[in-house]
């Protein structure tokens, strides 16, 4: 059977374009009701709120790309946030007065995420367990460890130099935005310009065929979940520095925002499709909805309803673009 498909360039442009247009339409629609949205301060507030979500969505997209999912996000955030705070607290932290406190804390936080993720990846790859189950157990167990370590208390009193650095600006742009942007660029390069990126795509498209072609499923899977865990830990750092404290029971809803941002950005839940630009747009759109509705003094459940609607519309647009809705797949 012969049929022509648009080139991949056109298709990718279309994927990101539809999210960007959706975001624009949304801004234009709410602007009359809350003109503050257009101010510089509000714009930066949206971007700052979007930064940790973007980090999480990028991490999640590694798991989604290979056809898996990482539900352990809140567990990793809680544990690595709490452990980081225990090292960093001013008065009774493990390395309270040492100049090593900050680098050691950062390293340990990221390591916790990476190791937790890679371990879950290994369970998925070598024990052939469903990712959903493994990472759900991870979410519970890691969160449990965090509560156990702190006795359920929120940890504050973090090292001031770190907070100053993280909450500050560099070249008039908040440091946290630089971090998120840098991660996005790294992810894009990794996915598009490295052997590993190509192997991730291949496993997502067809793991069995990738294996026959000599690609190690175990290595690729461990990397994908390790990367997802590391991103969760990085997000933990951003959240901890913004709220100046670490909680052992981080809100699980953040997982759904991250998956939502990825899906809005055109990431396929069945694997093999990802776009960093799309994910950036997705994270922005979800944050925009939350921020603008809060500005309008609407309640939390209104925000949830609107988010649900926006994600659904984005998913429908994506499906229609690929010719699934109203026709044959």
């Amino acid at each position: 059977m012969i049929s022509r498909a648009p080139s991949s360039v056109v298709r990718f442009a279309a994927a990101e374009l539809s999210v960007a247009i959706l975001a624009l339409v949304y801004v234009l629609a709410v602007l009359p009701f809350c003109p503050e949205l257009a101010t510089r301060d509000q714009a930066f507030a949206v971007l700052l709120n979007a930064a940790p979500l973007l980090v999480l969505a990028l991490g999640q997209s590694f798991a989604l790309l290979i056809g898996g999912i990482d539900l352990s996000v809140s567990g990793v955030i809680s544990l690595s946030g709490v452990v980081g705070a225990m090292i960093l607290t001013r008065d009774d932290g493990a390395l309270a007065d040492s100049s090593l406190a900050i680098p050691v804390a950062l390293l340990v936080m990221l390591l916790i995420g990476g190791v937790a993720g890679a371990t879950q990846g290994a369970a998925v790859a070598y024990w052939e367990l469903p990712a959903f189950i493994v990472t759900m157990c991870g979410m519970m167990a890691l969160g449990g460890v965090a509560v156990w370590l702190t006795g359920g208390e929120r940890l504050g009193g973090l090292s001031l130099p770190l907070l100053d650095a993280m909450q500050g600006d560099w070249l008039h742009v908040p440091v946290m935005l630089w971090i998120a942007a840098a991660l996005a660029i790294v992810c894009h390069l990794l996915l598009q310009h490295t052997v590993l990126g190509k192997h991730l795509y291949a496993v997502g498209h067809n793991a069995r065929a990738a294996r026959v072609a000599g690609i190690s499923l175990g290595r690729v899977t461990c990397f994908a979940y390790g990367a997802a865990g590391t991103c969760s830990a990085l997000a933990a750092l951003l959240y901890t520095c913004r709220t100046e404290s670490a909680t052992p029971s981080f809100a699980r809803e953040i997982l759904l925002d991250a998956i939502g941002a990825a899906v809005i950005g055109g990431v396929s839940l069945s694997g093999g499709r990802v776009s960093v630009v799309g994910i950036v747009c997705g994270a922005l759109l979800i944050t925009l909805v939350g921020n603008s509705l809060t500005l309008l003094n609407l309640d939390y459940w209104h925000v949830l309803m609107a988010k649900g609607g926006v994600i659904l519309v984005a998913a429908l647009l994506d499906a229609a673009r690929r010719g699934v809705v109203g026709g044959r797949a």
Binding site: A5, H193, T194, A209, V212, G214, I215
Partner: protein
């Protein structure tokens, strides 16, 4: 006599490309029509139109004299048209009887009348000569048996016209023989049958009339008695085939590129030893289920060995994985392109480069332009037409197979394992695959060739080993190749010849 089915000037285009050009078709009750043509000739499209999967752009169909324009497969089935697909449409977790009567189960106030269901199912199974317990789940049946269930289902639903699309692809020879007997029986019952197949001798044996499609045009049509197989091939490809099996260009080398020593896996492969030299083609003959594909998977590290050793270029690997086999110059083309071969939604280019990304990288960083050039040059030399950016799933079967060959050719393998390399591809593309295989051996690649087409093995291989029930049952050198003897050995009936 009034025809059962009449198609007049059926036309269909996809995105401006005409796939069917004014095709006429006529079929009487109690007649078998053989439909042949290369992949991409329009057979599947024509059948999809007949089965209500696709609407025609233009043209008319009459079924038993009445206008017939199904809008979906359910309407086609209601009108009495059934398509038995390559991939069967049964629910493997339900019982045979439940599958047969899915939409009209005998109901009782408390549920289903199990006994009535079973006895009605038994009657239907009797029609197709299948003696199985109708309460058995379909997943316990062999492919051939499932096909019979599907025919029984069509009969039970009152089908007047049954279309078979490549029905023998995954059947053993006895199963195929049984199917042919059933098709004869259907003809006797006055049903119309359309039989689509690449196996031209089967078509000639079964069909009353033959219709040849080429590039969407009805190329030839008439009683089977006026055609011969060479004539059919000529109509299908538009030229006569001269050299089907290309001559060897270089001698067999000395180096042993692949060696299996006492390889076993419980229940499938039992103590198999063999070796392939560089430039040599070792054929493996055998019936379906003899353990040939399983042996290939073992040799490539896809399944774990229970015992034995595999050596690539003389090197034994302690832990054999596909990655290590590939790193040592191994390559495997599996029989199942869709599941084990291609990334169907990825581009042709990504599929060609799948095993070679590392070769086009410097410290993990891709040299994308070089990779693109490499893929394009390889696709060009294998004549894979069209844009390399379209999904490989849109290519014809022959071009898909060439894409997988291109993938391994890029790596210049020392040893290539081929499992049914020409299954489901048309005559012209087969010819190209044969030339590719020869090109590889001339460059010194040793090939382990598994094929169910005995002619292919006889034409290409330097030696043939025969597998039966997981064991090696015989070996033939090229000088002693003999079609019947190889077949008899595979069937375990040496005395038969």
């Amino acid at each position: 006599m009034k025809p059962l089915l009449e198609c007049r000037k059926i036309r269909k285009s996809f995105a401006g490309v005409r796939v069917l050009k004014d095709v006429d078709l006529e079929l009487a009750s109690g007649q078998v029509l053989g439909l042949v043509g290369q992949n991409g000739a329009g057979k599947s499209t024509l059948m999809n139109i007949l089965g209500g999967v696709l609407p025609p752009d233009d043209g008319a169909m009459l079924l038993a004299g009445k206008p017939y324009a199904p809008r979906n497969p359910a309407q086609a089935a209601a009108a009495g048209v059934r398509i038995v697909h390559q991939e069967l449409n049964l629910f493997p977790n339900l019982s045979v009887a439940e599958n047969l009567f899915l939409d009209r189960l005998p109901r009782a106030p408390w549920g289903i009348r199990r006994k009535t269901l079973a006895s009605q199912a038994r009657e239907l199974l009797h029609l197709v000569n299948l003696e199985r317990d109708p309460r058995a789940p379909v997943e316990q049946l062999s492919t051939g048996e499932r096909q019979l269930v599907e025919i029984a289902k069509a009969l039970g639903d009152g089908a007047q016209l049954i279309v078979f699309d490549e029905p023998t692809t995954s059947l053993t020879q006895p199963e195929a023989a049984r199917l042919f007997a059933i098709i004869d029986d259907l003809r006797g019952r006055g049903l119309g049958v359309i039989y689509i197949s690449h196996q031209l001798d089967d078509v000639m044996r079964l069909a009353d009339d033959v219709l040849v499609l080429r590039d969407g045009v009805r190329q030839a049509c008439g009683p089977a008695s006026v055609f011969t197989i060479p004539l059919l091939i000529q109509h299908m490809i538009g030229r006569e085939l001269d050299h089907v099996y290309p001559e060897r260009g270089a001698a067999i080398g000395e180096e042993i590129v692949l060696q299996l020593r006492n390889v076993s896996r419980r229940g499938v492969v039992d103590n198999v030893s063999l070796q392939v030299r560089s430039g040599e083609i070792l054929g493996i003959a055998g019936m379906l289920g003899a353990g040939r594909s399983e042996l290939a998977r073992l040799a490539f590290g896809l399944d774990p060995l229970d015992a034995g050793t595999v050596l690539f270029s003389g090197e034994a690997l302690a832990l054999l994985t596909p990655g290590r086999a590939v790193a040592r110059g191994g390559a495997l083309i599996t029989e199942d392109r869709r599941d084990d071969g291609l990334l169907m939604n990825a581009s042709v280019e990504d599929n060609v480069l799948l095993a070679s990304w590392r070769d086009y990288a410097f410290g993990g960083w891709l040299r994308r332009r070089a990779a693109k050039r490499g893929a394009a040059a390889m696709a060009d030399s294998l004549k894979i037409g069209g844009s390399l950016h379209r999904p490989v799933g849109q290519l014809s079967g022959g071009n898909q197979q060439k894409a997988i060959f291109a993938r391994w050719l890029l790596r210049k393998p020392r040893c290539l394992i081929l499992d049914e390399p020409t299954r489901g591809i048309d005559v012209g593309a087969k010819d190209e695959i044969y030339r590719l295989i020869r090109r590889l051996t001339d460059a010194g690649t040793g090939i382990l060739l598994i094929s169910s087409e005995i002619e292919e093995l006889l034409g290409l291989a330097d030696r043939i080993v025969v597998m039966r029930a997981g064991r090696l049952a015989g070996e033939f050198d090229r000088a002693e190749f003999h079609r019947e003897r190889v077949l008899a050995c595979a069937l375990g009936q040496e005395t038969f010849v």
